[in-house]
């Protein structure tokens, strides 16, 4: 099993600075002479390394997730609407891979500009992933938007509404469709992770009504797709949910202007890195753990569970913990 052995960290231990160039060059060379066969030969086992696609991953939680996967030795394809941000993030990940202890010679880091709401671009992204990574083991539909503002529906610009609905709901639908198309033909199958968000559990989301509605729709979509895959006898593709909780990204911080919002952000929010550190190992266990009779059981991986949230609020009220943690509160 040369491919399998080839993924072991043979010569990346130590001397990261000198290795960076060599590894980069190595990757470039392999890409030129057909990474498909190279990576395909090392078809992923259930324990990894995995080939991972993360959408909307040039910043925020998407980039943090990508970094965690890279650190774990996985091949990662990132994408975002903004080509220059993708290029910068890809370089950042390549640097990280070069300095990472677990990075193997078959590790591929790639990036591509992609608007997830555009069917042709998503299809091209899936094909690109298939070509570059060989197989796609994990596809994370992370791209999400709240137009970076919190306001009532009436104050929101119609163009923002279009953007929110198309990115959050249509984008995930198209992503699922293309990911299933690629994964169903793979012997090892694959796993799709959809990011939930406020509103997914049905709770009201005033001041970001459109965002909440799309996330509620996503939670329902996962159930339907899982049922359809079962009906069609596609038992090598799983649909799962990731719940990052409150993450201190632009998306959240744009709405932290009232004292209540500040209180909850300080109480409950975590940095993207902390959340990714928690989520990625659990995501990487999904291929091994979610096998069940006649298919794949759906998993819901939550960072901020209810128990955790209530404990943190209680500790804040009782012991004043986490006050002014992210934003300064008045008083």
């Amino acid at each position: 099993m040369p491919g399998f052995l080839g993924r072991r960290p043979l010569f990346h231990l130590g001397r990261p600075s000198q290795q960076a160039h060599a590894a980069h060059f190595d990757r470039r060379r392999r890409q030129r002479c057909g990474a498909r066969s190279a990576a395909g030969a090392g078809a992923s086992s259930k324990e990894g390394p995995f080939n991972v696609v993360v959408t909307g991953s040039s910043k925020g939680i998407g980039l943090a997730l990508a970094r965690e996967f890279v650190r774990a030795g996985d091949s990662v394809l990132i994408c975002s609407r903004n080509a220059s941000q993708v290029a910068a993030a890809t370089e950042d990940l390549q640097r990280l891979a070069a300095s990472s202890a677990l990075a193997g010679p078959t590790q591929v880091i790639a990036g591509a500009p992609c608007n997830v709401a555009n069917p042709a671009e998503v299809a091209a992204l899936a094909d690109f992933a298939h070509d570059r990574l060989g197989t796609v083991d994990i596809w994370i539909n992370n791209a999400g938007s709240n137009a970076y503002k919190y306001s009532t529906l009436t104050e929101l610009d119609p163009a923002d509404l279009v953007n929110i609905v198309e990115t959050n709901l249509l984008g995930v639908m198209l992503g699922c469709r293309e990911a299933i198309r690629v994964m169903r033909t793979q012997a090892t199958g694959g796993h799709i992770m959809n990011m939930d968000g406020a509103g997914a559990d049905g709770g009201a989301t005033p001041r970001f009504a459109a965002y909440g509605a799309t996330k509620r729709g996503l939670a329902q979509l996962g159930k339907s797709l899982q049922a359809e895959l079962k009906m069609q006898g596609i038992n090598n593709v799983g649909i799962h949910n990731l719940s990052p909780g409150m993450v201190t990204t632009e998306l959240l911080m744009s709405g932290t202007d009232t004292s209540t919002a500040k209180f909850f952000v300080n109480c409950l929010a975590e940095s993207p890195e902390t959340v990714a550190e928690y989520l990625v190992p659990r995501v990487r266990r999904v291929p091994a753990e979610s096998r069940s009779l006649g298919g794949i059981s759906s998993q819901y991986i939550r960072y901020l569970t209810k128990a955790k949230a209530y404990t943190q609020i209680l500790m804040r009220l009782v012991a004043g913990q986490r006050k002014n943690r992210w934003v300064a509160e008045d008083q």
């Binding site: 069917p119 709901l169 639908m173 005033p206 799309t214 939670a219 329902q220 979509l221």
Partner: protein, 433 residues
């Protein structure tokens, strides 16, 4: 004992007068004037509503007497089940009437109503029902030709002098929605009710078989369309002195349960149903009262539902489906009541879980209602149902849907069953002792 002025005879006289008045009130509440109880279904004949209470009293008496007779009890007390059944029937009829009168309320003036996607199906049926109730309606469809056609049809079906207007509108296009809102304000002066009905299912098929164009259209028409229209409607209404009411249409998936074969549709409807909770909070910040509501039409026999339906689907349709005009007859009086009562948010459901279970229980009686064994449609086209052969049937179904009161009916059935049990137990214990 002190009997007041006139001593005992005076007291008895007053008592008698009191009883007579109560009796007259009861008779009045039972029947004779359906117009009062159901203002939306003005009927010309005064005796029209009478068959119901009388029928109820007689049938209740008969059912209980027959049941007791068949179980071989109470032969010596033949009058008891008849009397009990009759009085239960009368009580139910009176309560039903009183409840109806208490619950139903018509707006003080005709409403100005905007309904998106009303070129056909349930949107058109809603428009027709509003027009029949005397409201002014603005219809929309994606094409100008569609708008002209539906306006002509509505005038023919209801009356040539109803106030109906229309404009072509693509609900997923922000500019088009703005044009609709300004046209509505210009032509009607104000908008009291705005119903986001436009919807697209993308046909029954596996999600993987759906084209990206279909998926895009489902998301844009259903969720984006509802958001854009709701936004525009609330903006318009918040400038009106009396506010207004926005209604969104839910659909399969709104409860968060899986909807295989129409995954995209279900996801958008789950989002739409979620919207009400958030917007209810946001509406409190407005200066004028804008109500945010959701309508749930259940399964309606329209193009949206039938596209790509399989034979198994059609078997389910036979059991659960209703024609759009029947559903509209249920929804519209309730929408008008919501407006008249100035409710802040309401969820009006036609097909509740209880109703669906009831229908499944009666499934053997409901086969081939709309489709025969080969899945061929056996129902008449809309025109025949509204204007042609089936007018009376349609009106009967509509009237039944409009005055549905399940809780009371359940209480009635239950009390009848309890009465039967008591009589049986009483008879058994008396024969033992």
């Amino acid at each position: 004992m002190h009997f007041g002025p006139g001593g005992l005879p005076g007291y008895l006289q007053r008592l008698q007068r009191c009883y007579t008045r109560a009796l007259l009130n009861a008779v009045d509440s039972v029947g004779f004037s359906p117009n009062k109880a159901l203002p939306f279904y003005s009927s010309n004949t005064a005796l029209d509503g009478l068959h119901k209470p009388v029928g109820l009293v007689l049938s209740s008496a008969y059912v209980l007497a027959a049941a007791c007779h068949l179980s071989g009890v109470a032969d010596s007390l033949a009058w008891l089940p008849i009397l009990t059944g009759g009085s239960l029937g009368a009580l139910y009829a009176a309560l039903n009437r009183a409840g109806m009168r208490r619950f139903w309320r018509a707006p003080s003036a005709g409403l100005n109503v905007v309904i998106t996607g009303s070129g056909r199906g349930i949107g058109k049926a809603l428009a027709r029902e509003f027009l029949m109730a005397g409201d002014r309606v603005m219809v929309t469809s994606r094409t100008a030709a569609g708008v002209q056609r539906v306006m002509a049809e509505l005038r023919e079906e209801v009356s040539p002098d109803v106030w109906v207007s229309g404009i072509a509108c693509e609900v997923s296009d922000p500019d088009s929605v703005v044009r609709l809102a300004s046209a509505a304000r210009l032509q009607m002066g104000s908008v009291d009710v705005w119903i986001n009905n436009a919807g697209y299912s993308g046909s029954f098929q596996a999600f993987l078989d759906a084209t990206p164009e279909q998926i895009t259209r489902v998301v844009q028409t259903n969720l984006l369309g509802s958001l854009l229209c709701t936004r525009e409607a609330i903006r318009l209404m918040s400038e009106q002195e009396l506010g207004g009411h926005v209604f969104n249409m839910d659909g399969a998936g709104a409860d968060g349960l899986a909807t295989p074969q129409y995954a995209a549709y279900g996801a958008t409807k789950a989002g739409i149903a979620h919207l009400m909770g958030s917007l209810k909070h946001e509406a409190r910040l407005l200066d004028t009262p804008v109500g945010i509501h959701t309508l749930s039409p259940g399964m309606v026999l329209t193009g949206l539902l039938l596209e790509g339906a399989s034979e198994i689907n059609k078997k389910i349709f036979n059991i659960l489906c209703e024609q759009p005009e029947t559903v509209a007859a249920f929804l519209v009086p309730r929408v008008r009541t919501v407006v008249a009562r100035k409710q802040a948010s309401a969820y009006i459901r036609f097909l509740t879980l209880g109703r669906a279970l009831q229908k499944f229980a009666a499934a053997p009686l409901r086969t081939q209602r709309f489709f025969d064994k080969e899945g061929k449609a056996v129902y008449l086209p809309e025109r025949e149902r509204i204007l042609g052969k089936q007018v009376q049937r349609t009106e009967r179904l509509a009237a039944r849907a409009a005055r549905r009161s399940r809780e009371l009916a359940m209480a009635y059935s239950l009390s009848l069953a309890i009465a039967y049990l008591i009589i049986v137990v009483d008879s058994v214990t008396s024969t033992i002792t």
